[in-house]
Amino acid sequence: MKGLTASLDTWGARPVALTGVCGMRVLLGFVGFMYYVSQYSERDYLFGPDGVLPFDEFKQQLSSINLYSLSASPAWFQLVYHAGALAALAVMLGVGGRFGLGLHWLLLWSVYQRQPVLLDGGDNLAYVVIPFLLLTRCYERFAFPSGFMRRFSRRVPSSVRDLSVPFHNLGILMISAQVCLVYVVSGLYKVMGQMWQDGTALFYVMRVPEFQLPGWSNLIYENDWLIHLGTYGTVIFLVYFPLGILVPKLRPWAAAISVGFHLSIAFFMGLTSFALTMIACDLIFLSSTLGRTLSWSEDLLLRASLRGRGSRQSKGFQAAQDAGVPHEEEFIR
């Protein structure tokens, strides 16, 4: 019992996976921003009041809150769309704090539901995890410092501020659980499917025109060994992912495999935003690796710039190295 209280205490005192969750916020902001940018030239047709889903029909089918449904005027549509892009950019750059993140969620939800047939699992994961992200201190790193927010947080009573670490850790736990649910569910349903059992699912999926990369996909689907390896590898990886996450020693490896897996999905199947959203969520499991990589590359940059200036300032170099990003410990032991 004493051990339990003690571990609860430490768990409530130290924010876990801080670097990772900040990286996750940056990447999710980027993917959200790219949703607006990549469809910018087609926005009127895809999302506009006189587009392929006219305003009246959209409103009739709508069953949730939506900023685009407030007015049928094209000017309002342009305003909301551009505001959405800016909000996503602010999340990526780390401006606006939790308020900005909440606003981004509202705008993103609105643009998603303005044309729901465009959505995939990545968008689904994004709108489900952003509320959990609101619990975390995901603006602590990779963010433009904003004087306003600092002044604001000083005004918050200390009893509320003390809750920030436990809330943060709960948020991380929720994101981890959600990601594990995604992998396990998609893995177990694959186990139930004939094509996945046969080890031929990849052969079928990769020839579907919508998910094909001409000139490349055939290199995989014409090779029996690659098909079997890829199909069974996918199922095994997805089903066992949570185990890899639970064991601290396996954690970075599970996350690294996931990153590789999703990068190949992005390349072969053209699902860039789906893949990057999944990778963003993996970052919380790669927190310490991310921290180490960053301080290492910072060192490298410093060393390079100092070498340019000559060796006279080698004392300064040592000081700068000491001030590098602190190494972060693994989360949940």
């Binding site: 047709y45 069953s63 489900v128 919508e210 992005a266």
Partner: protein, 201 residues
Amino acid sequence: MLAGGALLSAHMTMSALSQAPLSPAKLKYGDAVLEYLSPYFAQNWMLFAPTPLSEGRGIIARAECTNGTTSEFYDVSARSLQKAQTSRFFPSREVRLISGNIQQLSTNDEVLQRLRQNRKNDKKPELPLLPHEKVTEQQAIRFLSRYAADQMPNACDGKISRVQVRMYIRDLPPWSKRHDAEAKDKVKVRDFKWIDARVLR
């Protein structure tokens, strides 16, 4: 703190139950869970599972002109497919306007799916579409017709009176015939009803 943790684990349990296969527990609590989760936490993680998409799906369409003649069929899917395939950095999602609406034509209600499958296995007559399924189907057909009409502005020199969409499902040669040069695609089609161009806009 513990209360917060309990609330969050209740939330996660419901998310998990919503993703479980059909079961007695899900029949009993599924509706309540769905009511809690949707719309903002609605989720579906059956990604390419249990049976992945394995065929090419798309639409072609023809128009009836105001002067009474009928145009040739036009390949509506080709352009958006090309757009999806030519980029690897956030490629165009326009092709999903078609594939997404084709998907809307079949129900995603697990109970109905199970019922239809059982009737098929028992060789009983097919269950007709329920009223809400008919509404969804009509919405999807209307959407596809409007998209098709927009994609063929040159048909009938721009004077279209009606438009008809034909959906195709192209089965690619199976694994067992992967080395068979003679193997051909099997194509199934479904013609939707003619729709008046004036009601589309």
